[in-house]
């Protein structure tokens, strides 16, 4: 099987539009959670989120382009352009049909749906804007990225709630590894900060009004985020031939389903996904030094995820660094796995281990090294990125430092 490497990445998140800004925020332990500013919070009880600040669509797109772009597709395109530019890859007639594009979204163009339907139900209008459907379809982002970059190979969106982007990236990895594609542009995008969507999360009673404190005893829940993360994957041979920057090697992908509770995660299900990723990479648990946790900051996730890590890593678990970057960029749902893989790649590429921010009191149920509050500078050879979704859908990626 072919070796697969990351040669480009791009990100739009609450801690930065662009990988450099993102890295600076991680290195400076500066989170992006704050009061919601992009919509009115008058009727909301949850008034805190991790918004993409200062994102001016007009700086990235023409007015005509914007007619067809929901915010989640805008995020995907901005991240995809950055990923492609940083990889230095150019499409030509030979490569394009061999270039896959898999970009997922948990829910698609929610702002577009809400605005269109608000006109119908609240204002009594009889029509919605003509591009409502191609803006809100959950595959809108992947179509836009494929069109913008000229990717003509296997292209589709995937959807698995909070594990969406990790599934998308994993599938692209498998396609390149197995020879179905030579390049894969992969990731996830989400823009869920709409009145209806926030109300829906309020109703589940799992959102913090304060901030996101993963693995802490006094954690009060998750904080919603938004954004996109996009990666360019290609074979090691091709990357070497063209002298491309190699940010990391993707070595394994594991998936599982709890087939249990709708909302309550199962440590066993999560552990099976982690094990599957290690088996796929053909590595022993002991070579892993960093885990970018799903770490939502909810009572349910953080205890279950800690148990899963103990189950898989046994005596090695206490030596792992485990952090949740949701404490920086919130929970961007279908984009979160991609936004978090940026931090995971930075761990192996830059030796920069992101901390878990807002860490106060340790929870006896969460007894690992969560890299509290301060980043660490350490060589990381192998790192995992965990994503565990509502509905029990789990996905885990394994990446390795590329030493040449």
């Amino acid at each position: 099987m072919r070796r697969v490497v990351v040669t480009g990445m791009g990100v739009v998140s609450a801690i930065g539009t662009g990988v450099d800004q993102y890295r600076e925020a991680i290195a400076g332990a500066k989170g992006g959670i704050g009061p919601i500013e992009t919509i009115s919070t008058e009727r909301l009880t949850v008034r805190t989120a991790a918004e993409v600040k200062g994102f001016d669509p007009a700086a990235h797109f023409t007015q005509t382009e914007l007619t067809a772009l929901d915010r989640f597709s805008q995020f995907a395109l901005v991240a995809a352009r950055e990923a492609m530019a940083s990889s230095g890859l150019t499409m030509d007639e030979t490569l394009a049909p061999r270039a896959a594009c898999i970009v997922g979204s948990g829910a698609g163009g929610q702002l577009t749906i809400e605005e269109g339907f608000r006109r119908l139900y609240e204002e009594g209008k009889h029509r919605v804007p003509p591009l409502t459907v191609p803006r809100y379809m959950s595959s809108a982002a992947v179509s836009q990225v494929s069109m913008a970059l000229g990717l003509k190979g296997p292209s589709f969106g995937v959807s698995s709630a909070c594990a969406t982007a990790t599934h998308a990236i994993g599938l692209g990895f498998q396609m390149v590894r197995g020879g179905l594609a030579d390049v894969a542009v992969v990731g996830g995008a989400e823009a869920p900060l709409s009145m209806g969507c926030i109300k829906s999360w309020e109703a589940l009673r799992v959102v913090s009004k304060d901030t996101c404190r993963p693995f802490c005893k006094d954690r009060t829940g998750m904080v919603l985020g938004e954004g996109a993360g996009i990666f360019v994957l290609e074979t090691l041979d091709a990357a070497r031939r063209r002298g491309a920057p190699i940010l990391a090697e993707v070595i394994g992908f594991g998936m599982s389903a709890d087939a249990g509770d709708l909302l309550s995660p199962s440590p066993e299900g999560a552990a099976r996904a982690v094990r599957a990723a290690l088996d796929d990479a053909a590595i022993a648990p002991e070579v892993v030094t960093y885990v970018n946790a799903h770490g939502t900051g909810t009572a349910a996730n953080d205890g279950a995820e800690t148990k899963a890590i103990h189950q898989v890593f046994g005596a090695h678990a206490p030596t792992l660094m485990v952090s949740s970057t949701k404490s920086f960029h919130g929970h961007a749902l279908g984009a979160s796995g991609a936004i978090e893989l940026v931090a995971t790649v930075m761990a192996v590429h830059d030796g920069l281990v992101a901390p878990t921010l807002n860490f106060t009191t340790p929870d006896p149920e969460c007894d690992l090294d969560y890299v509290p509050n301060d980043p660490r500078h350490e060589q990381v050879d192998v790192a995992l990125s965990n994503s565990f979704a509502f509905g029990g859908l789990n996905a885990v990626l394994a990446v390795r430092r590329f030493a040449g």
Binding site: L263, G297, T298, A299
Partner: protein
């Protein structure tokens, strides 16, 4: 039994199918086998029925409501504040 208590028990029975005979002010939520999913459904119905907003976060549930009486008292207070 107050009207509020009565209505809350109606809602719990409707959402969970629990035997109404078990519903008393001192009944502990955990003992009634009410799942967290059922519980947020119950709160939704309570809020809709009484036109109130019950502050509750599933992540800190142990601090908020232990018994049915805790819920009933909270709703009674919120209904009084509403009026």
């Amino acid at each position: 039994m107050s009207d509020i208590e009565n209505k809350i028990y109606d809602i719990i029975v409707e959402k969970t199918g629990v035997n109404r005979g078990k519903l008393r002010r001192d009944a502990i939520l955990g003992d009634l086998n009410i799942s967290s999913l059922d519980f947020v459904e119950i709160l939704f119905s309570v809020e809709e029925t009484f036109d109130i907003e019950v502050p509750y976060n599933a992540n800190t549930q142990d601090q908020d409501f232990k018994t049915l009486g805790d819920i009933i008292s909270a709703v009674e207070t919120l209904v009084t504040e509403r009026d």
